[in-house]
Amino acid sequence: MRKWLLYTLLGLASLITVVPLLYMVSLSLQTEAETLSANAVLVPDSPQWGNYAELFTRAPFGDFIVNSLVVAGAITLAHLLFDPLVGYVFAKFRFPLRNTLFVALLATLMVPFFVRMIPLYVLMANMGWLNTYQGLITPFLMDAFGIFLMRQFIQPIPDDLISAARIDGASELRVYWSVILPQTRPALAVLGLFTFVFQWNEFLWPLVATSTPEMRTIPVGLTLFNQEYFTLWHLTAAGSVILFVPTAVLFVLTQRYFVRGIALTGLK
């Protein structure tokens, strides 16, 4: 293959990817007049940093940020706590009903979220958990993907390490905490990053499960803000940038982990 052809293909694809995102940043720094002028503005005359402040006065954007951090953070912690624990049991223990429980766990992979959406809404309504943090967090406390990832990682740890710790009189919890967990650090990093980013971006459940502005997460709050103030594109873009920057920075710093994590999902 000719090099210039490859560079052209990859360069073009990268431009199509980057230019809209750069335009989003540009839009967030334009005046309202610039966003509506007949000549499309690509670089604003003087960057309107005040747009970001205005967003906070027009909408409870501070609440959105806090909600997103609390919900994505709590779910990520839950995954880091439970997924390796369950993965450890399926990797290293033999017990009655093991295969039945494993198949039951496997089956949950076949259940897309929309199937749970309506019954979860009814369940939360009955418990009075609609429009609360616990309502946003509990449906996502763990998942089969995370458990399988951790199981794959824990399986190669030598059994002798576990036996030795038990002979030394370590409690079962201690074996898990001091022998198993320290070995899984790279996998925990992948799990934590993926969980946080995808929960930070989650749209459907927070849309269904919240009903007042101060309980919205950023993706939902921003979308509803845009529906209400359709022409204020500079403010919508400012909100998009706030939602975008944390995950983008996180990704660029840790892209190796992400690429490894995605490759893992594809290797059967």
Partner: protein, 290 residues
């Protein structure tokens, strides 16, 4: 016959460690799935009157439901084909020893880690007939403006979906390509096969499992698409982009008909599971071994 292993005595520990997971999956997966099926046989504003298969017979004869299934199927086909062609082309390009490969890989993956809210709002602005930057730019240079979201709405939101997901597909194909032993290519080179032949005769057949996985993932995510319709088009113009999950969402939370929307959820789930099984079976038959 239980295998006698070191761990037989530790069954109690296993159950204790599994307890939170068993409680969680029972309460938030199995109970809701039971409920969605139970609700699908009921009707009324409180979904408390038994109607048997009433919701299902209504759904399969309802033109709006049929239409939303067709829309979703068309959308999924576009996303699957685009994912395979574009994802594979980019993976083949980035698999070559080029300078700056990592940069391309990072850049192309960024949209995949971006919320559908950002992607939807951004493209809605870019494509908006009056306020959008694209038409304002075309107008400024004297070119005719375009109304993509009116003339080809489904194709347009499929393209936006690809814009978001193609980096992910590329990384999957890249992992598949790197799993092909270099010796195969070397042997073919010695036999005088050019790059084109090597791709058709070696890479493509050996990538079959990856291609299968990519197409399964793309179908599953395509059939579940929601944000694109909710944010970019509102299901319109008319009902041209009334994706199934968006349709179900509206029946459930706008019309407040939980029985009818539950039945549609179950039907869509059956379609997704059936598709997945068909694809996996077809994939097993076409696997190549060397």
């Amino acid at each position: 016959m239980r295998p006698r292993t070191l761990y037989g005595r530790y069954a109690r520990t296993a159950y204790l460690f599994l307890l939170p997971a068993i409680l969680f999956f029972a309460a938030f997966f199995y109970l809701p799935i039971g409920n969605v099926v139970a609700t699908s046989f009921r009707t009324g504003p409180m979904a408390d009157q038994w109607t048997g298969l009433g919701n299902y017979t209504q759904a399969v004869t309802d033109p709006a439901v049929q239409h939303s299934f067709l829309v979703t199927a068309g959308f999924s086909v576009m996303v699957v084909l685009g994912s395979i062609v574009l994802g594979l082309a980019l993976a083949l390009a980035i698999d070559q020893p080029l300078k700056g490969r990592v940069v391309f890989r990072v850049v192309l993956l960024v949209p995949y880690l971006t919320s559908v809210a950002i992607v939807g709002l951004l493209w809605r602005n870019i494509l908006d007939p009056e306020l959008g930057v694209l038409n304002r730019a075309l107008m400024a240079v004297g070119l005719p403006t375009q109304q993509w979201l009116n003339t080809a709405p489904l194709l347009t939101i499929a393209a936006v979906t690809l814009w978001q997901s193609v980096g992910y597909t590329m990384v999957l194909f890249l992992a598949g390509l790197q799993g092909i032993p270099e010796t195969y290519h070397e042997a073919a080179r010695i036999d005088g096969a050019d790059a084109w032949h090597r791709f058709w005769r070696i890479s493509l057949p050996l990538l079959a499992p990856t291609t299968l996985f990519v197409s399964v993932m793309a179908v599953i995510s395509g059939l579940q698409a929601f944000g694109q319709a909710y944010i970019i088009t509102g299901g319109g113009p008319g009902d041209a982009t009334d994706l199934s999950v968006f349709h179900i969402f509206n029946v459930a939370f706008r019309t407040r008909d939980f029985g009818y929307s539950s039945a549609q959820s179950v039907l869509l789930l059956i379609v997704i599971v059936a598709f997945t099984l068909i694809q996996l079976r077809a994939g097993r038959r076409s696997e190549v071994t060397y």
